[in-house]
């Protein structure tokens, strides 16, 4: 087994999600006695805890984002390659730290830290391959919110010159980082394509969910036969658990959870006479954004019927 094959085995092992791990054996709850003598670098730990990344409200080309926690064991890092405001989507190119598998389709990049304070992180010491052939589409609105159980962080940038290089390599106008395409590198690409394919499928499923919400609201609006003008006047409201505001120009509904409920499990929904329309189910985040078409938005329903129910 040569080094590349060894590395490929490690890559596969690292990305392997857990299926049937007996967690109770691993995280066993035993009584603790005695004192552990580990000299922890408390100052360094405190420093790390004070560092933070921002959640990118408005992505820009060249931004490097990380979706965390990952869908498997390996980091999910992407560079924003292209923004299509009309379709409300961005194109993301995946980055992999296994640059030894570079093919003519890849570009080598390093991530630049967003500020001095963060520059010592391991993230900026590594070399990555940008893999334009494996790009995915991501809804623009999700940059101002968090996917259920996942957070999107802006972790850095790559220079625009490198974006240009990614385009040129993608178009076939120039050769990428590596020369070899076949053999074990082909196997690596297949695995990577599977990873991002899974993520794209998850994104599409989430998009379907928001489409379902929109369809239900549209149906509701048709049933109500209310004067549209009255519906559009109400664009904000609150109750004891949450505040909300609708931005018709962006087609976004922003819901802010009461601070002491943030981090709990809950469901946000519209309670109607004969049914409920579920808008969110999962971890309650400080700010939840949902794309709702202005034609489907019914302000006074949100004003009187929006509810939050704790599930934990």
């Amino acid at each position: 087994m040569n080094r590349l094959e060894e590395l490929f085995e490690l890559y596969k092992l690292m990305k392997e999600p857990l299926e049937d791990i007996p967690l109770e054996d691993i995280f066993v709850d035993t009584n603790i006695e005695g004192q552990e003598k580990v000299n922890l670098p408390k100052e360094k730990i405190e420093n790390e805890l004070n560092k933070d990344f921002e959640i990118p409200e408005k992505p820009e080309v060249g931004d490097v984002i990380e979706i965390t926690p990952s869908i498997d064991g390996l980091p999910l890092l992407f560079v924003v390659w292209d923004i299509n405001p009309n379709a409300g989507e961005v194109r993301l190119v995946p980055l992999s730290e296994f640059y030894q598998f570079a093919t003519p389709d890849d570009v080598l990049v390093k991530i630049l830290p967003p500020n001095e304070e963060l520059k010592d992180l391991d993230l900026y010491k590594k070399t990555y391959i940008a893999q334009p052939k494996l790009f995915i589409w991501f809804p623009l609105s999700w940059f101002s919110q968090i996917l259920p159980d996942r957070v999107v962080l802006k972790v850095g940038k790559i220079p625009l010159g490198k974006i240009q290089e990614i385009w040129e390599v993608y178009k076939g106008w120039r050769k990428g980082a590596g020369k070899i395409r076949g053999g074990i590198k082909k196997e690596f690409k297949k695995e990577e394509a599977r990873r991002y394919g899974t993520l794209q499928a998850m994104v599409l499923k989430e998009m379907e969910e928001t489409q379902k919400i929109n369809a239900l609201l549209k149906e509701l609006k048709a049933q109500r036969k209310l004067a549209k003008a009255a519906d559009q006047e109400t664009t904000s409201g609150w109750n004891e658990n949450l505040m909300w505001r609708y931005y018709p120009e962006k087609g976004l509904l922003v819901i802010e959870t009461r601070p002491d409920l943030v981090g709990r499990l809950g469901k946000i929904f519209l309670e109607l006479e004969d049914k409920i329309i579920e808008l969110w189910n999962g971890l309650l985040l400080p700010r939840i954004t949902l794309p709702i078409n202005p034609e489907n938005f019914i302000g006074d329903i949100f004003k009187t019927n929006l509810r939050l129910q704790l599930l934990d």
Partner: protein, 266 residues
């Protein structure tokens, strides 16, 4: 003083650490014990997987292998690994991911397991030089402030000199060569591919006559050509790669072979 019982759970402890920025001594103690326990179990389980997939023969577990590479006493080494792991867990991107899951005990523990597993594999990769030769080469690229400075100076597209990438390909080509060509056949490559090879490397056949050498080499000529064709068709190397390999590596290998074998010329 005993902490709140609910706070003995590893994810609860992490949640408290992330929220308060610190833990009391009792909770630190608990967290360290929990992490040590997880490291030990993950280490043992990962070792068997590594042995299965990589054929790594080792009687010890992964942590022991890392500690042996570090030439450290196991207890001290494990303490260092715990400290490094805590630093990894509190680093902003890992922390933000864990924060999302700390209220979901099962998901949190699953994620924590993969984090610890990959953290240990990463340490092992760093300690085993065989897998990081390329890393060392790339690390010579400009970094940090110098990197940013060069970007400002407009050197964006030359930040990764092409020769570094080529070096990766040549390392790969060397591996293929040694994997596919048995040492007793090296001389045929010297004979056919190097400049004046037929004259300079005939001594690799000992005292055999010119005709005998020619006959023997001719029988292997097809093998040499087929190998070169495979490099092109199966592995995707081009003529430039092969030329670099022959000049930079094969010529040196053949020279070593000549000095070792052709005693009368020493």
């Amino acid at each position: 003083m005993m902490g709140d019982l609910s706070k003995t759970d590893i994810c609860e402890l992490l949640r408290e650490l992330f929220a308060d920025g610190n833990l009391d001594n009792q909770s630190w103690n608990l967290l360290i014990v929990r992490l040590k326990g997880v490291i030990k179990i993950v280490s043992a389980k990962t070792t068997s997987l590594l042995q299965k997939s990589l054929g790594v023969s080792s009687a010890t577990d992964l942590v022991e292998a890392i500690c042996a590479k570090r030439r450290m006493d196991k207890n001290q080494c494990l303490e260092d690994i715990v400290s490094e792991l805590i630093l990894k867990l509190v680093s902003p991107n890992t922390r933000r991911g864990l924060e999302v899951l700390t209220s979901k005990p099962v998901e949190c523990k699953r994620y924590l397991y993969t984090l610890v597993r990959n953290f240990l594999i990463d340490l092992w990769r760093k300690e085993t030089k065989t897998l990081v030769v390329e890393d060392l080469e790339i690390q010579q690229s400009p970094e940090g402030e110098e990197f940013v400075q060069r970007l400002k100076e407009g050197e964006i597209l030359t930040i990764f000199p092409k020769k570094e990438i080529e070096a990766l390909e040549i390392i790969h080509l060397k591996e293929i060569f040694h994997k596919e060509v048995p040492p007793e056949d090296f001389k045929y490559f010297c004979y056919f591919l190097l400049k004046d090879g037929k004259e300079v490397y005939k001594c690799l056949w000992g005292n055999k006559s010119q005709t005998a050498i020619y006959k023997d080499a001719s029988r292997k000529k097809d093998k040499v050509i087929k190998f070169l064709e495979r490099l092109r068709d199966q592995y995707g190397f081009d003529l430039e790669d092969v030329r670099t390999f022959v000049i930079n590596y094969l010529s040196e290998l053949c020279e070593q072979l000549r000095l070792k074998t052709c005693k009368e010329e020493k």
